[in-house]
């Protein structure tokens, strides 16, 4: 089972993207998935978490995600104890930043960096980075295909927004693949 924890702020789409990943894996990828937010009231700007579980068989576990395989940080101002808690030895942290060195110094885990804000502004005209971060995640972990993510985006967003986001996820995927896999 793969467990992903998404860190964002209310309004940045961190739960939406946790759900899109689950949809890509299950509806289009033929796997099983769960996606859930940090339960409770929703407040714009407040730190929020999203979780995605993916497995080849039906997921029975209903407890909260305690340790995860990937941590995806949409907003680097959230870096702190919450981000670095529940890490396994090989948990990969994927963070939206232009200056990753400051984070790499603080943890032993691999830190994958992408300047998703710049990419999002280029492709969407707005700093909404959730799709770019999904592109980075699927470039790092091979548990869900980019194609299935694009199908989930096309199904979930209206056509004009979906097209832009598909271009964005392709660009983010390519940037990370090239940077980390040559």
């Amino acid at each position: 089972m793969v467990e992903v924890r998404w860190h964002g702020r209310g309004g940045q789409g961190s739960f939406t993207i946790a759900r899109l990943l689950g949809m890509a894996a299950s509806v289009y990828g033929g796997q099983f998935a769960q996606a859930f937010p940090s339960f409770g009231p929703e407040r714009r700007g407040a730190p929020v978490l999203g979780f995605t579980r993916i497995d080849s068989k039906k997921i029975l576990d209903r407890s909260e995600v305690d340790s995860c395989d990937y941590v995806v940080v949409l907003d680097e101002t959230l870096w702190g104890p919450a981000v670095v808690s529940g890490l396994k030895k090989d948990t990969v942290i994927i963070i939206n930043t232009a200056v990753p060195e400051q984070y790499r110094e603080q943890v032993d885990n691999p830190v994958v960096a992408i300047d998703a804000t710049s990419l999002a502004i280029e492709y969407l005209g707005r700093p909404i980075t959730n799709t770019a971060m999904l592109g980075a995640l699927v470039a790092v972990g091979d548990f869900v295909s980019l194609e299935h993510c694009k199908e989930a985006i096309a199904e979930s967003m209206k056509a004009s927004v979906g097209e832009k986001n598909i271009k964005l996820i392709e660009a983010a995927y390519k940037v990370v693949k090239e940077a980390y896999h040559g």
């Binding site: 299950s26 029975l60 576990d61 209903r62």
Partner: protein, 392 residues
């Protein structure tokens, strides 16, 4: 068709397929998404139904009673304080033998005010005369909306059904759900049969009858007898559902890896999945453990429960509720069933998950360890709290 949707969405899809004539509901977290979806379905025409925007849960149930009294199919949904606010109306519905179906998103009760999940709310209403079923995942939630109408409307049952799903853990978790075809649901669940007792302008009748001390006891006894024997209908409807849709939930209860189990954990609702996960880990370690998922608390499956548990050494019962001054309510019910056995297994109560507190895999492992210790003859506290952060 398979969709990646939340438990609340799944309930709405199930209700859409069951085609109630009238929906009367008041929104309350964590049920809100269900009634929003239903309202949207009525608006866009994908569900032909009257949506009544009532001003309270008390009115929601009062409307459902009116709808059901004239032979139409009624649906409502609520949670927590909302369920308690409508509670005055619940025995009116069950006593009048009205086959209303209600979704309850299990949520904590104030005070302290809390919107998260536990099962204090529905336990309050165990004596309301409603059938109570608890589901484990979003698929079962959808499927039970369809089954619930067929059970409630069966001539031998004619009793309202409350379908319970854990707040947030089920209502707000997205997962893969198979949405059945309308034609198949129509074949499984025919339109509600109009019966003699319903209101008609040609043959006006008095509803909500009075029965004094000369007849009241007979009414109540017959209501109880019909509720007791509804277990046969519940089993038959579940089997028929399995034949039609390929998903059979094992009727009143689901015994998971219990055949040779020396230790069994009894669960209700979503914690079942976590318990099964830990059960599988312990089985891999060679430990003889099982999980008994109670699906229905009313009617209570006394005989079936005893059949599964009779040769067990130690039994644990998880309660996401407290009957203050006593113990967990499910524990009381399980023990009461077990006294019918000549040799009674040891039983322990594990109270947890209150106000949305997570029940972790480590918690469940600790519960199984305690039960294994008890089975080996060691002394263990009879009533324990899981995952507490203060001294007891």
């Amino acid at each position: 068709m398979k969709k990646f949707i939340s438990g609340d969405d799944a309930v709405a899809e199930g209700v859409r397929l069951a085609k109630p004539h009238v929906i009367s509901a008041y929104p309350i977290t964590p049920q809100t998404i269900t009634v929003e979806r239903l309202s949207e379905m009525v608006e866009d025409g994908s569900l032909v139904s009257e949506y009544m925007h009532v001003e309270s849960e008390h009115s929601a149930m009062a409307c459902a009673i009116g709808v059901s009294s004239v032979g139409a199919r009624a649906f409502t949904a609520t949670s927590s304080q909302g369920l308690l606010y409508m509670s005055e109306c619940l025995p009116y519905a069950s006593g009048a033998r009205l086959p209303i179906v209600m979704m309850n998103a299990n949520r904590a009760l104030a005070t302290p005010w809390n919107i998260y999940g536990d099962q204090m709310d529905s336990m309050f209403l165990l004596n309301s005369g409603w059938i109570q079923v608890y589901v484990e995942d979003a698929q079962e939630a959808l499927d039970m909306m369809i089954q619930a109408y067929r059970i409630a409307e069966d001539e031998a049952v004619m009793t309202p059904v409350m379908v319970n799903l854990d707040g947030f853990v089920l209502t707000h978790t997205y997962e893969l759900v198979d949405i059945p075809l309308q034609e198949k649901v129509d074949a499984f669940l025919p339109p509600i049969a109009t019966r003699d007792q319903v209101m008609s302008l040609d043959a006006p009748k008095s509803l909500c009858i009075t029965a004094g001390n000369d007849f009241n006891q007979e009414f109540k006894m017959k209501q109880d007898r019909d509720m007791q024997s509804s277990t046969a209908v519940i089993e038959a409807v579940d089997k028929a559902f399995g034949d039609a849709f390929g998903r059979y939930y094992k009727g009143m209860m689901d015994a998971y890896r219990c055949e040779d189990a020396e230790v069994i954990l009894v669960t209700v609702g979503s914690v079942t999945g976590t318990a099964k996960t830990v059960c599988n880990q312990l089985r891999d370690e060679g430990k003889k453990v099982g999980v008994l998922k109670l699906r229905y608390l009313r009617p209570f499956p006394t005989q079936g429960l005893c059949d599964v548990l009779k040769s067990t050494k130690a039994i644990g019962v998880i309660d996401k509720n407290i009957s203050f001054g006593y113990e967990g309510t499910i524990f009381t019910n399980v023990n009461s069933a077990l006294v019918t056995l000549k040799e009674r297994p040891e039983t322990l109560n594990f109270i947890g998950g209150l106000g949305g507190r997570d029940i972790t895999k480590q918690d469940i492992r600790g519960v199984f360890d305690t039960l294994i210790s008890k089975a080996a003859g060691n002394a263990e506290e009879r009533i324990q709290y899981m995952n507490v952060r203060c001294a007891e």
